[in-house]
Symmetry: C2
Subunit: 213 residues, 2 copies
DNA sequence: GGCAGAGTGTGGCTTAGGCGACAGATCGTG
DNA sequence: CACGATCTGTCGCCTAAGCCACACTCTGCC
């Protein structure tokens, strides 16, 4: 299954589009593999050559759309920078909010898909960040931090904030929320927790520092 | 090349749609087979499995669209009747007029395609009429007339009238023109030429009849 | 319980479509 | 004129997609 084969790309696209169209008409659970294949003018057997099952399709559907949204605002040739991180945050907040607003998972009967979808979104965000961070030259002087770690922290933090904002988006604007997030993620929690910044494990933490809880 | 194979239908559709899209951007002569194949996400070699060449595609493009327009207004389960013939006439008049109004053949550089297109439209109309007329039981008493003959007469007459109306559509409305056409085609020219109707070859024509001119 | 109906995965065989390469056309340009 | 560039048809080889059929699993219903 060579992804560069035009037939493969086309069939995948047809299936995903058909699925999207069906989702506007029925709940996820009411959609059968047959339905999707038929709508896509693709053989049912071919469906299984592309996706594990209905859930695999959902996975790709959600993931592709999100990836596309990210790459739309942040083309892959854009290097990492604080400015761009800010754009990323805004994009994620808006996407998550808009996703929770309408779309499939909002149907009462599909409520159980939310965890699936959310974990997918987070993992896509993780992958996106990782690809980005791996281009960044490691800072000198500071202790080395694996890009994987940074990607994990950022993806969970941003995504979580997205979910939260989706629920309470009337409290403040995207821009405002993004500003706060950015400050926290770049500057660390030190100033908020009233401890001195940049305290490595070996250094003496001011006051109770992290252990304060 | 089994026409019922979904792959075949899909590829054909893709090629024709791509061609239509390209026609809104460039002239027919500026469009290459490569362009069409690429836009349709189909291999160039596959193009030739479906169409003779660029002209073959044009042929199908024009023919399919016209056929679709006809079948849209006159589904195949509609039996022949004067009422339906009237609808057919209106449809053809409007289609031809609208076709000459915008669309490909209007580009100055594509003016030479008009005869090709016109003969295609006429032949599609002929085929449509023939399929229709073959369902009609032959009238009793009158001399037998092959449906092919009727289809030929009707298709040329209606199509020609369509072309004419396309040029001078400001003279009268479609409805009016259709009424006149219908009267002529059903009643024959006898009343206009002031001769007695239903004059078979063997009967004595009143006055100079056809030879009058 | 049993049975009919609809959906699901899977496998074997056939066929349309993708790929690369080829020999000609056609055409603008030095 | 020759040249490079671009497009055209065509061919052989390979692979994705279509088709049919089978063995399940559910689910509703008598």
């Amino acid at each position: 299954m060579n992804e560069s084969d035009p037939r493969v790309r086309r069939t995948r696209k047809l299936l995903i589009e058909a699925f999207g169209a069906l989702l506007t008409e029925k709940s996820f659970h009411a959609i059968s593999v047959q339905d999707v294949a038929e709508r896509a003018t693709v053989n049912r057997a071919t469906f299984y050559a592309h996706f594990e099952d209905k859930y695999g399709l959902l996975d790709s559907f959600v993931g592709d759309a999100f990836k596309e949204a990210l790459e739309h605002r942040l083309p892959s040739d854009m290097a990492f920078s604080v400015r761009h991180l800010r754009i990323l945050i805004v994009t994620v907040l808006e996407y998550v909010a808009q996703f929770n607003g309408r779309c499939a998972s909002q149907r009462a009967t599909d409520r159980d898909l939310e965890p699936l979808i959310q974990s997918k979104l987070q993992s896509v965000l993780h992958a996106f960040l990782l690809g980005w961070l791996q281009e960044v030259p490691p800072a000198e002087g500071a202790e080395p931090i694996a890009p994987e770690t940074t990607a994990t922290v950022l993806s969970w933090a941003i995504f979580g904030a997205g979910l939260d904002w989706a629920r309470y988006s009337d409290v403040d604007t995207v821009e405002d929320r993004a500003r706060q997030l950015l400050a926290l993620l770049i500057g660390g929690t030190a100033s908020v927790l009233n401890v001195s910044p940049r305290a490595p494990a070996s250094a003496t933490p001011t006051r109770e520092a992290v252990g304060a809880r």
